[in-house]
Amino acid sequence: MAKTKKNMDKNIKFSLSIGDEGAILVCLNGMQIVKRIFVTSPTSTEFINFLSAYPNAPLYIIVDVVEQAYIKHTLPPVSRLNVNKLVSRKLEKDFDKNDIKAAIPMDKEKGQRKEWNWLFISVRNIPPFSDWIESVSNLPNYFAGIYLLPVESMNYLKDIEKALSNSSKVEETEQTAKTKKDKKKKNKENKENKKSFDSRWQIIVSHNRVGGFRQIVFKDGKVIFTRMAQPIGGQSPDIVAGNIEQETLNTIEYIRRLGYEDNEGLKIIIIASSDVKEALETIPQTGVDQKVYTPHEIAILLGMPSVAEESDRFGDVVMASHFLSTKKHVLPLFTKYTEKINSIIKYRKLVRAASVLASIAALCFAGFTYYQTININDGLEKSETKKRSTQSALTKTKSEKLEFDEDPKLIKVVSDINNKLAKDANEPLNFLAKIASLKDYNTYFDEINLQIDLFDNKLDVITAAFSIIFFESDQANRTVDTVNFRKEMEKLFPEEDCGLACFQLNWEGLLEDIEVTIEVREKESSYSNSDMTRVDLNMTGPQKQTRRARQVIRRR
C-alpha cells in the first residue's frame, strides 16, 4: 500500500494561482483533481498543511496579479546572439532590480530592416505577491518556477482551439446521414468556424476568482497584451455579463491601436459561470467570433472533466489544471532565492545521476573485467597443464641416451678438426687435378707455382694463388686446340648471363670466392723441335669484398 501511495504521490503536482484577491491552490494527480483551496493569506494553516502532506510534489506558481507589464519592443536587426545581449541589457535598464522579468521573442519585421520584435514582461515583486513567494519558497516542496498566466495561456488557447476543431469534426461525422439541407447548414457553420480559427487575433476572457476579468490578447497565437478588470456594481449575472461585454469592447478598442483591423478576424473565448453565459450578448462587431463557455464546459473540452463542476463560476481552476497537465511550459521565472535553491537541487540531482551512472559503469566494467579474468584463469589452467606436459617431455628428452658410447664432446672436437684440416673442397690441389684432367697426351704442365697461406697459423685456408703454364709439343704437326680448351674450361666454370668473358665460379666450396684469370698466349718456340701455346692461369682468393668471381678468357 505504501508503495502504491508513493507511486501515486509521484504524479501529484501543485499549482498556486496568485491574484490580488487571494490565491487558489490546486492539487492535481494525473488528470484528476485532488483538492482545490482558495486562500487569502500565505500563512493559512490549511494551505501549508496540505502542501506539507506531499513534500515531494512540485509547486508551480501561476501569477494572475494586476502588476504585470507587457511591453512590445522593436530591436535593431542585429545577430541572434547579439539580440539576446541587447535584451538582457534592456531588461536590466528598463525594469526595477527587484522585478521578476523576462522577454520572449515575437517575430521579425518582414520589411527591409528586419528588426526584432520582443515582448518584455515584468512582474512587480511587491506585497501581496512577494509575501506569497516568500512563504512558498520555504516550504519543503520543490519550487518549480513562477509562470505568468497570460504567457502560459498560449498553450491554453492552442489546446482549446485544437479541441474545438476536433469536436467540430466529430459533429460533422455524426451529421453525414442527415438531409442535404442540414448538410448545407453544417457546411456554412464549418466555414464560419474555419474562418474563426483562421483569425489572426484571439482574446480569452476568463472570469477568475483571484483577480477578476483576465483578458489576454493573442496575435497569431502569441500573447501581445493583457488586461485585468474588477467587476463593478455587484455580482449578479447581468451585471457581471455587462462588465464582461464592456471590458471586451474596451479591449477591442485598445487592440486597434496595436494594429487590429476588422478584416483580420477576431475570436473571443469567454469563460464565465452558466448564469453569466446566459446573460451575455453577442458583441456587435464585424469579423468577431464570440464563444462563451462555462468552466465545466471548457474542462470537458480539454478532456479534464473532473477539474470543474457544473456549478463552478470561475475559470482559475481549469486554467491551473490545464497548466499542470501541460508538459512544456513557456516561460519559467525565478526569484534569486528560488533560483539559488533550484540550482543546488539541480546540482544534487546531477551528482546523484553522475554517481548512479559511474556506479553502473563501474559495475559493468568490473563485470567485464571479471569475465576476462575467468577466461584468463581458464587459460592459466590450460597453460599449467601444457607446462607440466612440456616439462615431462623435457625430462624424457634428457633421459634419452645417445646411440653411441663414445664421449660426444671428443667426437665433436675431432670431427670439427677433421672438417677443418681434411676439407678437400678447399684444397687447391684438387682444382689443379681438375685442370690436369683437361690435358691430352701431348700437353704438359710446364710450370706450377702454388702458394697457400694459412691464416695466422689457425689452420684456415684464407688465400691461395698459383699459376700454370700449358705447353704443347707439336711433333705430329698438331696445334694446341685452344678452342676446345676454352670449352672445357667453360664446363668447369659455368657461364653466367654476363657474356662469354664473364663466368660465375661455382665450383666446390671455398673456390667460389676465388678469382680466376686465364690467358692463352701466342704460339712461340721453346724447345728446338716443338711449338707451344702458353696458357697462364692465375687464381687469387677468396675475395671477401666480391661475392662473385670473374673469369676472363682473352685470345691474342
Binding site: 519558497s137 516550504l139 519543503p140 532565492y337 543546488i344 544534487r348 551528482v351 553522475a354 554517481s355 559511474a358 563501474a362 568490473a366 573485467t369 571479471y370 576476462q372 579474468t373 584468463i376 592459466l380 601444457k386 607446462k387 612440456t390 623435457l394 628428452t397 634428457k398 645417445l402 646411440e403 653411441f404 663414445e406 664421449d407 660426444p408 664432446k409 671428443l410 667426437i411 665433436k412 675431432v414 670431427s415 678438426i417 677433421n418 672438417n419 684440416l421 681434411a422 687447391p428 690441389l429 687435378a433 690436369a436 704438359y444 710450370e447 706450377i448 707455382n449 702454388l450 702458394q451 697457400i452 697461406d453 697459423n457 689457425k458 689452420l459 709439343s473 711433333q475 723441335n529 716443338s530
Partner: protein
C-alpha cells in the same frame, strides 16, 4: 533561508554518499583489475616458462642431431687421422714415421732425387680433450712427370698419420717428353729427371689429452 540551508545540507549529504558509493565501486573495480593483472602476469610467466622449456628441448635435440652428425663424420675419418695417446709429439718419433713412409713412396714413384726436411714439432692448439701438434715438412724432388708428383703428394697425405696441408708447390719442367726422350729411357732403363720442384707442408697430428694434465 531555511530551505536554502537544507538544500545545501542535502547537496553535501548526497555528494558524500555518492562519493562513497563511487569509491566503493571504484575500489571494487581496482581490486578486480589488480586480480586480473596478477593472473595475466601468472599466465605470461607460465607461457614464458613453456617457451623456455621448449627451447631447451629443441636445444637438446639439436645437440643430439649435431652429435649424430659428428659421430657420422667421426666414423668416416681414417684411423690414422684420429688422435693417439702419443700424438707423435717428439721429433724422433715424427722423423722415424716420416722417413719410413717417404722411403716407401720414393720407391713407388721413382724420384731421381728427394730431399725431405722435417722441422721440430710445436703445439698449435689445445683444448680440454685434444692437443694439435704441427711441424713444417719441406721436400725437394726430381721426377719423371708432374702427374707423378701430384700423385705422390696425394699418397703422402693419405699415408702420414694426422693431416697434411700443403702450403707451397713449385714444379718446373726441365725437358719435354718427346720421342727422343722416350727412346733414351728405353735404352738406359733409367728414370730421367724431367721435372723438378719443391713442396712445403704443414703436418698436423692429434694427441689425446691425458686426465689431470
Amino acid at each position: 533561508m531555511r530551505k536554502l540551508a537544507k538544500a545545501k545540507k542535502d547537496l553535501v549529504k548526497t555528494s558524500t554518499i555518492s562519493l562513497a558509493i563511487v569509491a566503493v565501486f571504484g575500489g571494487l573495480v581496482f581490486g578486480i583489475l589488480q586480480y586480473k593483472h596478477s593472473k595475466e602476469d601468472d599466465l605470461k610467466k607460465i607461457k614464458k616458462d613453456i617457451k623456455s622449456i621448449k627451447s631447451n628441448i629443441s636445444s637438446i635435440k639439436n645437440e643430439r642431431k649435431q652429435a649424430m652428425l659428428s659421430y657420422k663424420t667421426f666414423n668416416s675419418i681414417p684411423k690414422n687421422k684420429l688422435p693417439t695417446d702419443s700424438g707423435y709429439e717428439t721429433s724422433v718419433e715424427r722423423q722415424r714415421i716420416a722417413k719410413k713412409i717417404l722411403l716407401e713412396l720414393n720407391e713407388k714413384y721413382r724420384f731421381t732425387a728427394m730431399d725431405p726436411k722435417l722441422a721440430p714439432p710445436e703445439l698449435k692448439e689445445s683444448n680440454d680433450l685434444i692437443e694439435i701438434i704441427s711441424s713444417p715438412l719441406d721436400i725437394n724432388f726430381d721426377g719423371m712427370s708432374d702427374e707423378l708428383v701430384l700423385s705422390f703428394v696425394n699418397d703422402l697425405r693419405e699415408s702420414l698419420p694426422g693431416y697434411l696441408k700443403m702450403t707451397k708447390l713449385n714444379i718446373k719442367r726441365r725437358g719435354a717428353i718427346d720421342s727422343e726422350t722416350l727412346e733414351k729411357i728405353k735404352v738406359t732403363s733409367s728414370y730421367l729427371p724431367l721435372v723438378s720442384g719443391a713442396a712445403t707442408f704443414e703436418w698436423y697430428t692429434l694427441k689425446n689429452k691425458k686426465e689431470g694434465k
